[in-house]
C-alpha cells in the first residue's frame, strides 16, 4: 500500500498513468461510437463506402461558371462544382472586402467629422446584424428587380433582371493565348524591375519610375500583340429570345447576394483592424516623417502603412478565414457551394451523411490551412527584419 502511494506521487509515473487513461477512454469512446453507428446504419439500410461518388447526381445546378454541369454528371462532379463556387465567392469577397475595409478604416480616421461618423455608423450597423440576415436581405432585394421581359438595359450589352445580370461573354480565338502569355511575362518582368530598382535605390539613391514603366509593360505590350495578331477576341452578346436570354453569360442573383453580403459584412471587421493598426503606429513616426519634409500622401504610404501592416496582417488572416467559412451560408439562398451542393443535395439524395460530411469538413480544413499558410508566408515577409 505504501509503495503504491509513493508510486502515485511520482510525477513521471502520474503523467504516464493519466495519459494512458485518457487514450484508453478515448479509444473506448471511438470503439463504442463505431459499433453503434455500424448497427444504426445497418438498421436504417444506409449504404456505406465511397461508391456513391460515381453515381449520377440526377439534379441540376443553376450556377456553375467553370464546369459545364448536367444532371447526368456524378456526385463527384457536384463536389468539384461546389469547391469552385465556394472558392469563387470567397476569392472575390476577400479582395473586395479588403479594398472596402481599408477604405473605410482610413475614412474612420479622417479629420472630417461627418465622414468618420458615417463610416462609424456603417461599421456598427453591419457588424451587429447577423450575416445570414444580410445575405437573405440582399437576395430578397435582388429578386425584386424587373423580370426578364422588362430587364434594365445598359448599352444594349448588359441586362439586369431578377434572374441575374446578363453580360457579353468573351470568346477567345486562336492566338489569344499569346496575348495572355505576354501579359504574364509583363507581370513577371515588372516584379523583377521593381526588385532591381529598389536595389539600385538602396545602393545609389537613384529612383526609377517603376509604377509607370510597369503600367506601360502591362498594358501596351499585350495590347500591341493583340492588334498584331488581328484582334483574336470576340464577344457573344446576350439577346432576348422567347422567355429567356440566349448567349452571353449570366451572374446569378444568388452569387451577387452572397458576394455583396460577405463583402459588406467582412469589410466592417477589416476596417476595424485597419483602424487599430494605423492607430498603433506612434505619433512620433508621423511627426518625424513630416519634419523630414515628406508629403502627406508619402507619410501614409512609406511610413505609416508599412508599419501598420505588421499589426493588421494576423487579424486580417482570420477575417479571410471567416469569410471563406461564412461562404457556406450560401445554402440559405440556394448558392450551390460545397455545403449546399454536396453537403446538402447530394447528402439528401444518397443518405450517406457520414461520408458527405467527412468530405465537406476535410475540404474546409484544407482550404483553411492553405489560406493560413499563405498568409503566414506573407506575414513573415513584411515583419520587421532585424539587421
Amino acid at each position: 500500500m505504501r509503495s503504491n502511494l509513493s508510486f502515485f506521487s511520482d510525477e513521471k509515473f502520474r503523467s504516464i498513468f493519466f495519459q494512458t487513461l485518457v487514450i484508453g477512454i478515448f479509444a473506448l469512446g471511438i470503439y463504442l461510437i463505431v459499433q453503434t453507428t455500424g448497427h444504426n446504419l445497418e438498421k436504417r439500410n444506409i449504404a456505406t463506402g465511397w461508391r456513391f461518388l460515381s453515381d449520377p447526381a440526377g439534379f441540376d445546378i443553376s450556377f456553375s461558371p467553370f464546369i459545364d454541369f448536367k444532371s447526368t454528371d456524378t456526385h463527384l462532379d457536384v463536389y468539384f462544382v461546389g469547391i469552385f463556387n465556394t472558392l469563387l465567392v470567397s476569392f472575390c469577397g476577400c479582395i473586395a472586402a479588403t479594398i472596402l475595409g481599408f477604405l473605410i478604416g482610413i475614412v474612420r480616421l479622417s479629420s472630417n467629422w461627418l465622414l468618420s461618423r458615417v463610416a462609424y455608423v456603417y461599421v456598427e450597423f453591419t457588424r451587429n446584424v447577423p450575416l445570414l440576415l444580410q445575405i437573405i436581405l440582399w437576395y430578397s432585394i435582388l429578386i425584386q428587380l424587373p423580370r426578364i421581359k422588362q430587364a434594365l438595359e445598359l448599352m444594349d450589352m448588359f441586362f439586369i433582371s431578377n434572374r441575374g445580370i446578363y453580360s457579353p461573354r468573351p470568346i477567345f480565338e486562336n492566338g489569344f493565348s499569346f496575348v495572355f502569355i505576354a501579359f504574364i511575362l509583363a507581370l513577371i518582368s515588372s516584379f523583377i524591375l521593381r526588385k532591381w530598382s529598389k536595389k539600385r535605390q538602396d545602393e545609389t539613391g537613384k529612383q526609377f519610375p517603376v509604377a509607370l514603366t510597369a503600367l506601360g509593360l502591362l498594358i501596351i505590350v499585350p495590347l500591341v500583340l493583340f492588334f498584331i495578331l488581328g484582334s483574336p477576341l470576340s464577344f457573344d452578346f446576350p439577346a432576348l429570345k422567347g422567355f429567356n436570354f440566349k448567349g452571353g453569360m449570366v451572374i446569378r442573383p444568388e452569387f451577387i447576394a452572397m458576394f455583396l453580403a460577405l463583402t459588406i459584412y467582412t469589410a466592417a471587421f477589416i476596417s476595424e483592424t485597419v483602424r487599430s493598426g494605423i492607430l498603433s503606429v506612434t505619433k512620433g513616426q508621423r511627426e518625424a516623417s513630416s519634419s523630414l519634409g515628406l508629403k502627406k500622401s508619402w507619410i501614409m504610404r512609406l511610413v505609416i502603412i508599412p508599419q501598420a501592416l505588421r499589426v493588421i496582417i494576423p487579424p486580417l488572416t482570420s477575417q479571410y478565414l471567416n469569410l471563406t467559412k461564412n461562404s457556406s451560408l450560401g445554402i440559405a439562398v440556394g448558392y450551390a457551394d460545397l455545403v449546399h451542393g454536396f453537403g446538402g443535395i447530394s447528402l439528401n439524395q444518397t443518405g450517406q451523411a457520414i461520408e458527405c460530411m467527412v468530405i465537406v469538413m476535410a475540404t474546409y480544413l484544407t482550404i483553411s490551412l492553405i489560406i493560413s499558410a499563405f498568409m503566414n508566408i506573407y506575414n513573415k515577409s513584411i515583419q520587421f527584419k532585424e539587421k
Partner: protein, 377 residues
C-alpha cells in the same frame, strides 16, 4: 508706466460652434467639398428613412383608419407612392416573434424566465452591484430553474421544444451556448497548455478542427450524424442536438480566448504558486485562472456576440428562431411581399442585443485599463 494690455478675445472662427465646424468639417477645400457632399446625401436619405419607418408607416391601422389584417390593407400596397412600412405584420405576429408556438396559457413561464434571466445576468455583469454575492447564487441556480420552467416537469405541463420559437429559441441557444462553452473552454485552454503531450495534442486538434470548419457543417453534424452515433433508445430533440453543435463550436473559440489570457499571466505567478506548495489544480483555480479570465472577459464578450449572431444559422437545419419566424411570416400568403419590414425588425432586435454587448465589452476594456494592475509588476 507699465500698463497691462487687456488680452484679446480669440478669433471668432476658432471657438464655439463656428470653430468646431471649421476644424472638423471645413478645414480645407477638399474637406469642405466632402462635407457638403455627405451632408447632401444625408439630407436626402435620413428624412426618407424616417418617413418610411415612422411617419408614413402603418402600425396597427392604415391611413383609412382600418385595422390591418392582411397585406392588401397596408398603406404601401394601397398607395405605393406615399405609404411607408407596414408594421402590422410584426404587430399581428408579435406573439410568434417572442415565443414561437408556445401554448398561450403557459406563456407566463416564458415571461417569467425572461425576467429571471435579466435578474441573473445583470449582477454578473457589474461587480459593484449591491448584494452581488447573493444574486450570484441565483445566477448559478437559474439554468436549472429555467430548464424546468420552460420545458415542464415538476408539476408543470410539458411543452415540447418543437413548439419553442422566435426570441425564445434565439436566447436559449445564445445563453446556453455561452454558459456551457465557458467551462468547456477553460478545460480545453488548460489542456492545450498542459505539459502532458497526449492531452495537449488532443485539445489542440479538437480546437483547430472546430475552428477550421464552418458552423453550418457542425450543425449538419448535430442534425444528421449525431443520431447515428447514439445507441437506440436515446432520442435527442432538434434543439438539444443543435445545442450540442453550438456548444462544441463556441467552446473552441472560448478556449482560444482564454488561452490568450493565460499566456498574459507572467511566469512568476506560476512559480510563486508552486513554491508555496499549491497543486496544479489549486494553482490554476486560485491563482492563474481568476487573473486570466479577468483580462480575457472583453474578448469573451466579443466571441459571445459572434455566437449570438450565429444562432440564426439554425434556421438552415429547421429550427424557428427569430429569423426563422420572420421567414415563416413572409411565406404566409396573407403577408407576402413585406420582406423589408420583417428583416428590418429582426435586424433591429439583434442590433439591440449585440450593440449592448459590444458597448459592455468596451466598458470592460476601459475599466481594465484604468483599474488595478493585473498580475505581478
Amino acid at each position: 508706466m507699465n500698463e497691462i494690455i487687456e488680452s484679446r478675445k480669440p478669433p471668432v472662427a476658432t471657438t464655439g460652434i463656428l470653430g468646431w465646424l471649421r476644424a472638423n468639417l471645413f478645414s480645407n477645400w477638399v474637406n469642405s467639398i466632402i462635407s457638403l457632399f455627405v451632408l447632401y446625401i444625408l439630407i436626402q436619405f435620413i428624412p426618407w428613412i424616417l418617413n418610411w419607418t415612422i411617419f408614413a408607416a402603418d402600425f396597427k391601422y392604415n391611413f383609412n383608419g382600418e385595422e390591418i389584417i392582411d397585406r392588401t390593407m397596408c398603406s404601401r400596397v394601397l398607395d405605393p407612392e406615399n405609404g411607408g412600412a407596414c408594421w402590422a405584420i410584426i404587430y399581428v405576429r408579435f406573439y410568434q416573434f417572442m415565443y414561437g408556438f408556445y401554448p398561450r396559457e403557459e406563456v407566463w413561464r416564458v415571461n417569467l424566465s425572461y425576467i429571471m434571466l435579466a435578474v441573473a445576468v445583470v449582477p454578473l455583469l457589474f461587480d459593484d452591484f449591491p448584494f452581488r454575492k447573493h444574486f450570484l447564487k441565483f445566477t448559478y441556480a437559474f439554468p436549472i430553474i429555467a430548464f424546468f420552467l420552460l420545458n415542464g416537469g415538476l408539476g408543470l405541463q410539458e411543452v415540447s421544444t418543437n413548439k419553442w420559437g422566435g426570441l425564445l429559441v434565439t436566447l436559449v441557444l445564445g445563453c446556453t451556448g455561452i454558459a456551457l462553452a465557458f467551462p468547456l473552454g477553460i478545460i480545453l485552454a488548460l489542456g492545450r497548455r498542459s505539459n502532458l503531450p497526449v492531452i495537449s495534442m488532443m485539445c489542440t486538434l479538437f480546437i483547430e478542427f472546430i475552428r477550421g470548419v464552418p458552423l453550418i457543417t457542425l450543425l449538419f453534424f448535430g442534425m444528421v450524424m449525431l443520431p447515428l452515433f447514439l445507441p437506440e433508445g436515446i432520442n435527442m430533440d432538434g434543439l438539444a442536438r443543435v445545442l450540442v453543435a453550438v456548444t462544441l463550436f463556441q467552446s473552441a473559440y472560448m478556449a482560444e480566448v482564454i488561452r490568450g489570457g493565460l499566456q498574459a499571466i507572467p511566469q512568476g505567478q506560476y512559480e510563486a504558486a508552486r513554491s508555496i506548495g499549491l497543486s496544479y489544480w489549486q494553482m490554476n483555480m486560485k491563482i492563474v485562472l481568476p487573473q486570466a479570465i479577468r483580462i480575457s472577459i472583453p474578448s469573451i464578450v466579443n466571441t459571445s456576440i459572434g455566437l449570438f449572431k450565429d444562432t440564426t444559422l439554425v434556421i438552415i437545419v429547421g429550427l424557428l428562431d427569430l429569423l426563422g419566424i420572420g421567414r415563416g411570416a413572409l411565406a404566409d400568403t396573407t403577408w407576402l411581399g413585406l420582406a423589408y419590414e420583417v428583416y428590418f425588425f429582426v435586424a433591429l432586435v439583434f442590433f439591440i442585443f449585440t450593440f449592448a454587448m459590444s458597448r459592455y465589452s468596451l466598458y470592460l476594456e476601459k475599466k481594465l485599463k484604468t483599474g488595478i494592475n493585473i498580475g505581478a509588476d
